[in-house]
C-alpha cells in the first residue's frame, strides 16, 4: 500500500494526473469535432475544384465512436507506452531501486503497485476522454445510449489494460526505458499482423476488441465473440502480470 500511495503521489506531482486526462480528452473529441465541421473547413480552404462531386457522408454515432477509439489505438497507446516505459526500468537504471529493494518489500507488491497506479491513471484518463467524446456525439451526431457508452469503456478498457500490463512485463525484464517502449509497441504490431494473417484461427485475439465493439453498436447486442475476446484479454493480462512478478523475483536487482 505504501508503494502504491507513493506512485499516486508521484504521478500527481509530476502532473501526469493533469496532462494525461487532458490529452486523452483531446484525442477523443478531435475527430468528432473536426468531422462535423469538415464541410465548412473545405469551403474555407478554397472549396473543391468545380465539377467534383464530393459527398460527405453523414456519420452515425457508432462510426464516430470508432474514430475516437482509432485515436486511442494509435496515439493513445503510444502515450500510455511512453509514460509507462520508465516506471520500473527507469528506477533500476537510475539506481533508486537499490535503496527501495534492500528494504524488506515484497516483489509482488512492488510490481503490482506500479501496475495498479499506471492502470488507474490510464483507465481514468480514458474514461474522461470517452465521456467527452460521448457528449459531443450526442449533441452533434445523434443519440448514443449511456449504457452503450459504459460498454464501450468497459471493453476497450480491457485492451488498454492489456497494453499497460505488457509494458509492465517488459519493464520487469529490461532496464532500458526506450527499449521497453519499443518492445511494447513492436509486440502490439506483431500481434496485429498475426491476427490479420490468421484471422480465422485467432478470432479471439485482443486486437479484435474494437472491431467487435463496432459490431456490438451496430447490432445493438453483445456478440458472443466479444465476450470471448474480452476473456482472452483478461487472461493474457493476468498471465503477463504473474510472469512479470516471476521474472522480477529471479532477477538480480543490482544488475
Amino acid at each position: 500500500m505504501t508503494l502504491f500511495q507513493k506512485e499516486m503521489v508521484e504521478n500527481w506531482r509530476n502532473k501526469k494526473w493533469i496532462w494525461v486526462p487532458l490529452v486523452m480528452i483531446i484525442l477523443a473529441i478531435m475527430d468528432p469535432i473536426s468531422n462535423y465541421y469538415m464541410p465548412q473547413i473545405i469551403e474555407a480552404v478554397g472549396g473543391l475544384p468545380e465539377g467534383t462531386v464530393f459527398e460527405l457522408p453523414d456519420f452515425a454515432p457508432a462510426e464516430v465512436v470508432m474514430m475516437s477509439l482509432a485515436q486511442f489505438s494509435t496515439l493513445g497507446v503510444l502515450i500510455i507506452v511512453l509514460i509507462s516505459m520508465g516506471t520500473i526500468a527507469g528506477e533500476r537504471k537510475s539506481g533508486i531501486s537499490e535503496l527501495i529493494l534492500v528494504k524488506p518489500v515484497s516483489y509482488i507488491n512492488y510490481i503490482t503497485a506500479k501496475w495498479a497506479a499506471l492502470l488507474i491513471l490510464t483507465l481514468v484518463s480514458f474514461f474522461f476522454g470517452m465521456l467527452a467524446s460521448w457528449y459531443y456525439i450526442n449533441i452533434l451526431y445523434g443519440e448514443l445510449s449511456f449504457e452503450n457508452f459504459l460498454l464501450i469503456v468497459l471493453f476497450y478498457g480491457l485492451w488498454l489494460t492489456f497494453v499497460v500490463t505488457l509494458s509492465i512485463f517488459y519493464n520487469a525484464m529490461i532496464k532500458t526505458p526506450g527499449l521497453v517502449a519499443f518492445l511494447t509497441i513492436f509486440t502490439i504490431m506483431v500481434m496485429r499482423v498475426i491476427t490479420q494473417v490468421f484471422h480465422h484461427l485467432l478470432n479471439w485475439s485482443p486486437n479484435n476488441l474494437s472491431n467487435y465493439i463496432f459490431e456490438m453498436l451496430l447490432t445493438e447486442s453483445i456478440p458472443s465473440h466479444l465476450v470471448g475476446t474480452a476473456s482472452v484479454t483478461i487472461m493474457l493480462s493476468i498471465i503477463l502480470l504473474i510472469a512479470s512478478i516471476f521474472i522480477f523475483k529471479k532477477k538480480e536487482l543490482a544488475n
Partner: protein
C-alpha cells in the same frame, strides 16, 4: 474564412480550446519550476508555445527529468 468563423458554434469549440490552453499553462508552470530539463529551457518554451497540443506532451514525456 469569415463564413467559417460565423458558422462555427463557439460553445462547441470552446472546451476544446480551453483544454489546449490549460495544457499549455500547466506545461509552462512546470517548466518554470523545474530545476533541470533535458535540453535548454528556452527550447522547451518555444516547443510548448508554438506546437499546438503536441508541444506540451513532448515536454512532459521527454523534457522533464524523471527520478
Amino acid at each position: 474564412m469569415q463564413e467559417l468563423m460565423e458558422s462555427i458554434n463557439w460553445a462547441i469549440i470552446a472546451p476544446f480550446i480551453m483544454i489546449q490552453f490549460i495544457l499549455l499553462i500547466v506545461a509552462i508552470i512546470d517548466l518554470v519550476k523545474a530545476d533541470e530539463t533535458r535540453g535548454s529551457k528556452w527550447m522547451w518554451v518555444f516547443i510548448i508555445v508554438f506546437i499546438n497540443i503536441v508541444g506540451p506532451v513532448l515536454y512532459f514525456i521527454f523534457g522533464r527529468r524523471r527520478d
